[in-house]
């Protein structure tokens, strides 16, 4: 069977898998960004009662493996009465894991905003919320966008693990095709190329574009 025939027969399934991977990627990214923002801000709080939960969350999710967390959420959480459907369990695990890494980026980004900016906002008697939202966060966002680009690639790679709880993503389809045809190089090789294209032709250019737009919006470019 030539490679073209392979693509004709199994291409559509690999495309379906890619779409599922894209769906997982979008949901997990949204969750990761939300968690990163909340946990990152909490970690900077002066009040220990707010800070400690964020620290514990970040250390637990960064200290264990994504795969362990995924299995825990999918197999163990139902014992506590919380049953998540596999699609949900998948992106929740990936989003919570990468969100913990993102929280550190948010914290670093906020801390990289010069002190003078805080003082100026204070001098203009802005409320703390307004100061954070209008002055600090936009600048922090520009500073932390480049590492977020890398983090989103890690997130994309993380979504491949959801195939292990049978979410029919790209990885899962490649495994199924390999199981029925034994054409391993074609099945896994094509999947590798699709992941690469997803990362380099979609995620990276999008982040570069976002970096340019944000830099322009705060008047840095």
């Amino acid at each position: 069977m030539s490679y073209l025939e392979f693509l004709r027969d199994y291409g559509p399934r690999l495309i379906d898998g890619t779409l599922m991977t894209a769906a997982q990627f979008v949901c997990a990214s949204a969750l990761a960004i939300l968690i990163a923002l909340v946990a990152g801000l909490m970690k900077l709080a002066p009040n220990a009662l707010i800070r400690i939960p964020a620290v514990v969350y970040i250390e637990i999710f960064r200290g264990t493996s994504l795969l362990v967390q995924l299995y825990w959420i999918f197999f163990v959480l139902p014992l506590f009465g919380i049953t998540l459907e596999k699609f949900t369990a998948g992106f929740v695990a990936v989003g919570m894991n990468l969100g913990a890494y993102g929280a550190e980026l948010v914290r670093g980004g906020i801390q990289s905003v010069p002190r003078g900016q805080w003082e100026a906002a204070y001098a203009l008697s802005m409320s703390p919320a307004k100061r954070m939202w209008r002055i600090i966060l936009p600048q922090a966002l520009v500073n932390m966008l480049p590492p977020w680009g890398n983090l989103l690639i890690e997130l994309l790679k993380g979504t491949a693990l959801v195939s292990l709880i049978s979410v029919a993503d790209l990885m899962f389809e490649a495994k199924q095709i390999n199981g029925s045809t034994f054409l391993s190089a074609q099945a896994f090789g094509t999947a590798l190329i699709l992941y690469y294209l997803f990362a380099r032709a979609l995620v990276t250019p999008f982040m570069r574009w976002l970096e340019r737009v944000m830099a322009r919006r705060i008047g840095r470019a």
Binding site: V68, F75, V76, G189, L192
Partner: protein, 223 residues
């Protein structure tokens, strides 16, 4: 807590601790491969041969932006298709070693590029050989800034070893799954795996920080 059975937890503890050794071995062996191969990949990008540099650069990008678990499957299943049968351990070590070699090559590259240009020029002026330039001047200065990244990836490779369970390497996750399906109880094994990971990776991360400070002090970079 809910349905937690302590006697069951204690019964499976020895098996999990045994598997922890396998996990540590896998992480250690994978890291050793990655350390050496990463240096090769980093140096290959500094040769004057443009084509080699471009190919290695693209290869590193490829490995870094595709999932490790897929690479593990690829290495394990593609061999037999061409008559080369690899054991799960061999395939796993190749895949994880190569994956982290790509990451480490970037760390090395960053370290080497951080060495001021004047140092290179001084080596040329003193007509040091390429070998002496690297081993005596450049690498000793490139190492300290690279240490933080190297340490993080040591912890990272440890946390990625559970992925080896997909091809049947008997590390922690694989053992926990096996116990889970033998006893129809997943609560204790999977939770304990999580706790074991925390108990190793948190102190390891702290040790990496200490080591980094120690090296910087030894080299007189901080007082």
């Amino acid at each position: 807590m809910f349905d937690w059975k302590w006697d069951f937890a204690f019964e499976i503890l020895p098996r999990l601790l045994g598997a922890t050794l396998n996990t540590l071995m896998a992480a250690g062996a994978g890291y050793a491969i990655a350390l050496v191969l990463g240096l090769v990949l980093a140096l290959a990008q500094r040769t004057p041969v443009r084509l080699l540099t471009a190919v290695v650069r693209e290869g590193v990008e490829f490995i870094r932006s595709t999932p490790l678990v897929l690479q593990i499957f690829f290495v394990f299943y593609v061999g037999p298709q061409f008559g080369l049968r690899l054991s799960p351990w061999t395939a796993g070590m190749i895949a994880i070693g190569l994956h982290y070699a790509a990451y480490l090559s970037e760390v090395y590259r960053g370290g080497i590029e951080a060495v001021p240009k004047g140092q290179w020029e001084a080596c040329t002026a003193l007509s040091l050989s390429t070998r002496d330039t690297y081993t005596r001047i450049i690498i000793p200065q490139a190492l300290p800034p690279a240490l933080a990244g190297m340490g993080n990836y040591l912890v990272g490779i440890f946390k990625d070893t559970p992925m080896l369970s997909v091809i049947g390497v008997a590390e922690l996750m694989h053992t926990a799954n096996a116990i889970g399906s033998e006893h129809y109880r997943f609560l204790e094994p999977i939770t304990m795996v999580g706790v074991i990971f925390l108990m190793i990776s948190l102190p390891a991360a702290a040790l990496v920080r200490l080591f980094e400070t120690w090296v910087r002090r030894k080299l007189g970079m901080i007082r």
